[in-house]
Amino acid sequence: MTARTETIQGERRSALRQIWEAGPYAWNQALITPVFLVPFFLVAATVPLVTQYFVDNYGWTGGEFWVRIAATCAMYAALALALNLAVGYAGLLNLGFIAFFGIGSYTYALVASDQLHVHLALAPALLVVVLVTMFFALLVAAPSLRLRGDYLAIVTLAFGLIMRELTLDLDRPPVLVGHQFGPTGLNLTGGTEGVHLVDPLRLPDAFPLIHGAALQSRTYYWIFLGLTALFAYFLLRWRASRTGRAWMALREDEIAARVMGVNSYRYRLMAFTASAVMAGVVGMVDAAYIHNAFPGNYDIQQTVLVFIMVILGGLASIPGAIFGAVIVTVLPFILQPLVLYKYLIFAVILIALMIFRPQGLMGTVSMRPRRALGGTLELFTERVEPEEQEVGAEAASTAEVEAASGAIVAPPQRE
């Protein structure tokens, strides 16, 4: 039933055909082996060096531009992997996902800029970002994970919107029931202006390739790529461990998972928080990269974008999330000459994909509107016809004989 990648034999065309017929499940299994992933990340790491070569030798002017796009791709890949942990592994529909990215950005912006006149080094800043995003994740998840399914989506969606409003309003001290919190003139988030002149990451000088070049795009490309590789490693390790199996079991069948001894609340909280903290760390690096934290970057549209990447690539699929991030980031640039029509084309591609492959390019778990509840989303797993019963239809008559005689009869004779 399950297609496996067979040993490639014979002529080339049939080998390709075999790979094609093996199907997305097998592709995904093949692509998450270290044999593929390690060379992939090594090759990906050379992208800035290759563009540099063309810039130096052929006077190519687009080098820096494409490195920046590559950095954006890598950033979204890391984000998509973080979201995949919550949505793909644990089945938690976190529609406020980008808020945690924003919390990471703003937290770093506050502890590494002139906004509060604090300039922390990399390690303490990272620690603060992790703790703050963890705090907010627990704040949202602790009460709402007691709710079931779609309610989590509603609560997290509201949380995302509230956080965005807060970034706009916290340029002055908050006033609650007539009481002002904090001194007059306190400006945390800079309102619509955002926080500017955020410190770049202060990396140790020991790295040879990036020494003295901390401000370059390619440094950030490597950092984002490193995060992507790290998150991919996390997801792979979790998949093969007790924790990850418990998450996936909860996604598949909550009651059965609990009967197996999985503390559903605790494991959901873990998945939600881990996913949020991963997003927060990416947000921190992004704030350092673009030197500011700006409310427009943490819109609901951004959540939708990351969701598109994950769903396009396939829920719970690691190569899928990376692939989805690259496509969704690069495609608008490739379609740039078509100006007005590029988003139309993009939308058509997405709709077509959702119709013909609702489980994404490399996934097996899919997401569809739930018919009974008027359009809310549910995660459901692909229904595939099971293998045939071992013994065919002739068994029915034996069953009758057995029932009549009141005893278990000898196994049926097969021709």
Partner: protein
């Protein structure tokens, strides 16, 4: 029964859904190493009893003690920790997980390894994983030719009967004291049922106590040490299979009043 140690002691178990009394003051005992069958017509409340014992449903009154420890009122996963594993009537394997992953889920409650331990190859996490794999290999021996070749396949690709086997194996890997099997023979052909009877006996011989819901009477009569008959949430009778078989109340519950059974 009297010479055995009592493993499960159910007393006055009652649950009501609105005005409906699904299980009404049910009391019974299961001794260590017994195979006890719970039979009765559809809607008698058998599966509800399983749901109450395993904590999936909250009982209105009553108690169920496993070796003296109360199970009623515990969250579902705590019941598993106390040593109760169960299968479901409607076959709840995890379809996207492989057979092996499904089985490893059974080891969840008795292994200890955290979210971060597996990332850094923490020795305890590695030991836990290795022990879990060993137990899976041990349990799979009972199902050798059925599940062994399918270990790396996703569970959705299994046949109906194999999913039932997988569910039983998963419960077995949980190393319970008490195993609750909810209609394990449903959808199996006579040959497979015969195999299942052997399997249940083999599990009993490994030291498990089994409480079984089954509609297929010949199987029940064949393997049970005792049979409990329920109807409308009440225990009608209880006894050795051959005694229960001849009890007129049982015939009445199944077939209605005034039916003469020709032998």
């Amino acid at each position: 029964m009297s010479d055995r140690q009592v493993l499960l002691d159910v007393r006055g178990l009652t649950v009501t859904f609105g005005g409906l009394i699904a299980v009404d003051g049910l009391s019974f005992q299961v001794g260590k190493g017994e195979i006890v069958s719970l039979v009765g017509p559809n809607g008698a409340g058998k599966t509800t009893v399983f749901n109450l014992i395993s904590g999936v449903l909250r009982a209105t009154h009553g108690s169920a003690r496993l070796l003296g420890q109360e199970l009623i009122g515990l969250p579902v996963h705590r019941v598993t920790h106390r040593g109760v594993a169960r299968t479901f009537q409607n076959n709840r394997v995890f379809p996207q997980l492989t057979v092996r992953e499904n089985l490893l889920l059974g080891t969840h409650h008795w292994t200890r390894s955290g979210m971060l331990g597996s990332l850094v190859f923490w020795p305890r996490a590695i030991r836990a994983e290795r022990r879990a794999q060993t137990e899976v290999d041990h349990a799979i021996e009972l199902f050798r030719e059925r599940l062994q070749p399918r270990l790396e396949d996703p569970a959705y690709s299994l046949s109906y009967a194999n999913r039932r086997r997988l569910e039983i194996a998963r419960a077995l890997v949980a190393m319970p004291r008490l195993l609750l099997l909810d209609e394990p023979a449903a959808g199996m052909n006579p040959y497979e049922r015969l195999e299942l009877a052997g399997l249940i006996r083999a599990m009993r011989d490994r030291g498990l106590t089994i409480l079984l819901i089954e509609h297929h009477m010949p199987l029940v009569m064949d393997i049970s040490s005792r049979v409990i008959v329920m109807d409308h949430g009440i225990k009608i009778t209880e006894g050795r299979p051959e005694e229960v078989h001849q009890d007129p109340r049982v015939v009445e519950a199944y077939l209605g009043r005034g039916v003469v059974v020709r032998r």
